[in-house]
Symmetry: C2
């Protein structure tokens, strides 16, 4: 079993464990309430049948009919129509985003069959939309963070720069700096919290939910879980209804995009952790037959610095996370980057920087995950990974600069 | 606005259009049924109140109470307990997979708050799991498809090979062949249909659903939409209950993984289409000021073949989708691959091959999307994209061979 498979199995095992723990905790939290609700309902039913001398069987029949009517969106308190245009629009929105509240569901066979084909294209398009959004938000974040860092450098007087912003001197001093995946997670986390809190401030008075309920609804909707126990914008009438519906859509769209990005960033950190655990396990598993477990030797093996590759004259070796990457970005001037920058980078230790992988690459985070795995697995695949072109995907900040310059030039021309 | 942003906006616009069309169609399909259901329920309610002389207000109160009890999972026909361990396990499964049927939802404040934090980690871990699954399934598919192609070649007597499977001669004759994204989509589509049909064959008799209902349930569950109008394994008792519950979990797990992969592959094809549309739009938009719209000249620009890059002696130019990529995979022997292979590849026209990007790269599909966008956008970013290291990620089938050999060597050693 190679390390990729080991990591996959480890993740599956950990998720299973996580599910078991979650099941135990939720069971402990919610089981008493379920029993109480059951007792309460029995009592209410008894009261009703005794008071009105209704046949229990007939009442059960009525309640079953009510359940069926519920499925078609009928409630005692009149709700908005399910299948007028705006209701159907809300419905298809929950389909393509895979939220699926279930407040509205197709009841006819034609509707169900159409849903399958409609959802197939719609969900794929939305996944693409989320991925493109992720790409753009990460590019934007990294650009902003770089700009902030630039300002800080300028204020501190480090890396003296001329008034021309993209001077080569400044590029050099910034080449070593990348935002870490933890910062990006922090920013996305804060953005998610801000959106959820703003949305809750809207929902809480409009829907008469408690603030905690509103927050819970926001998480369930934004994460596309979509239980449907609480669904916004379902009543017949609201104050300034059109504005509320629009706001509801915008909040859900923003929230879903933001939480999707956040999940992806968190998943990178989980992957880093898994890779670390697998590395440890492999080490301890081989501690008699294999020399790699002796820390000094292992470090040495992973850190072996080869002479600058003869295949790629512009290739440079970068220290990162204890492994070596040959960077083959031949469009940057090899001489322009001081070695001190890489030493500085090395000091940042385990903080793998996102920007390194993404900005330069206008890339979805999955690529980042892949790159991280490449980095982590370079030890065993050392024979070729030091020299292959993939590592070229890493750290070519110059490409980002090119791209951004080009982008702004494009804007000027249009 | 650069082309990335243009494509993003185009996608957003198309999704909006898709939603509007979907809303209109669903509205037309389902609205009559809603009205019929509403009339039916009114009639049933009238019958009941007239027959038992029940105060309508009191009955409404009872029905509201029943709605509340419904939220806690109480029905007239006894369902399985919501919050015993197995019920809670099913619940957390629907949370982390973001299916969120909503047949069980936390009712206490503590449960709701815990859900937010639990879901945050759980959903991220599951996204990672799906991505790793995607990576593994694509690697496996490409390996199998390559093996089949190999067999076919051997039977046809093309590319005469020795008995040693990984001889360099065979690698050469297979270098030009990659499975196309359409084949992968087809295989995943067939797998999804097979899983859905098998699952429906199980659900249909066990849950007393019609076969179409079962298929509809499968799609809604596997795509993680999870309306919750139909939920499997909810009754108090089934025949061979434990086996059914296990089978239910396995089918949902397999289905979700498969449909997730399918969505991602479809999203690539959507992205290709978008890129093509944006290209056309840019062309027609610039048809007076810019020369790129004249087909001949544009082709020429995109196809400019540079002399083999002086930065990367092993660099080779590959024709693909009308653009040029410099491949910098210095670990493959540049001389080993005949030029004829590339000509052959070029003849395959617009069929962009998946394997080209992924197998060699043991990579999530998002990377593939990125690579496709790189390919498509090489025109405007020509100044550096011909020489950058990213293109190295493309087409190095030799790396896959290395990886697979290495993998099998690893297995032998363990």
């Amino acid at each position: 079993m190679n390390e990729d498979n080991a990591r996959f199995c480890l993740l599956a095992g950990l998720i299973l464990l996580y599910l078991l723990c979650g099941a135990a905790i939720f069971s402990a939290l919610e089981h008493p309430f379920e029993l109480r609700a059951r007792r309460l309902w029995k009592q209410q039913l008894d009261n009703f049948t005794q008071r009105y001398r209704v046949n229990l069987g007939a009442l059960h029949t009525l309640l079953r009919q009510y359940e069926e009517a519920n499925g078609a969106g009928i409630r005692v308190d009149v709700l908005r129509p399910r299948w007028d245009f705006s209701g159907a629009f809300y419905f298809v929105g929950t389909v393509v985003s895979t939220i699926g509240f279930g407040m509205t569901t197709p009841a006819t066979i034609a509707g169900k069959i159409f849903l399958i084909f409609y959802g197939l294209i719609g969900c794929a398009a939305t996944i693409l939309f989320f991925n493109l959004f992720l790409e753009r938000i990460i590019t934007m974040l990294a650009y902003i963070m770089r700009w902030c860092h630039e300002r800080r450098l300028r204020c501190a007087g480090v890396g003296v720069v001329s008034s021309r912003e993209e001077s080569s001197g400044e590029e050099d001093s910034l080449e070593g700096w990348k935002p870490s995946v933890y910062y990006v997670m922090l920013i996305l986390g804060v953005a998610s919290v801000v959106i959820a809190c703003s949305a809750s401030t809207l929902y809480s008075p409009m829907e008469n939910w408690s603030y905690v309920d509103s927050l819970y609804f926001c998480f369930v909707a934004f994460s596309t879980i979509g239980f449907g126990d609480l669904v916004s914008s379902q009543r017949q009438q609201y104050e300034s209804q059109e504005a509320y519906r629009l706001g509801n859509c915008i909040f859900i769209l923003m929230g879903v995009c933001c939480i999707y990005s956040l999940f992806n960033v968190i998943s990178i950190i989980i992957k880093q952790t898994l890779t670390w655990i697998v590395g440890k396990l492999v080490c301890s598993g081989r501690h008699q037959s294999c020399s790699c477990c002796r820390p000094g030797q292992k470090r040495l093996k992973r850190n072996t610095v080869q002479p600058i590759s003869s295949h790629c004259p512009a290739g440079r070796h970068r220290y990162m996370d204890g492994s070596v990457e040959t960077v083959c970005d031949s469009e940057t001037d090899a001489g322009a980057v001081a070695d001190g920058v890489y030493v500085g980078r090395r000091l940042s230790g385990e903080m793998i920087s996102v920007n390194e992988f993404m900005v330069s690459n206008k890339v979805s985070l999955a690529l980042l995950q892949k790159q991280l795995s490449e980095t982590a697995h370079q030890g065993p695949r050392q024979s070729y990974s030091h020299q292959n072109g993939f590592s070229g995907g890493v750290g070519a900040l110059a490409i980002m600069n090119n791209r951004l310059q080009e982008t702004s030039v494009d804007r000027l021309h249009k």
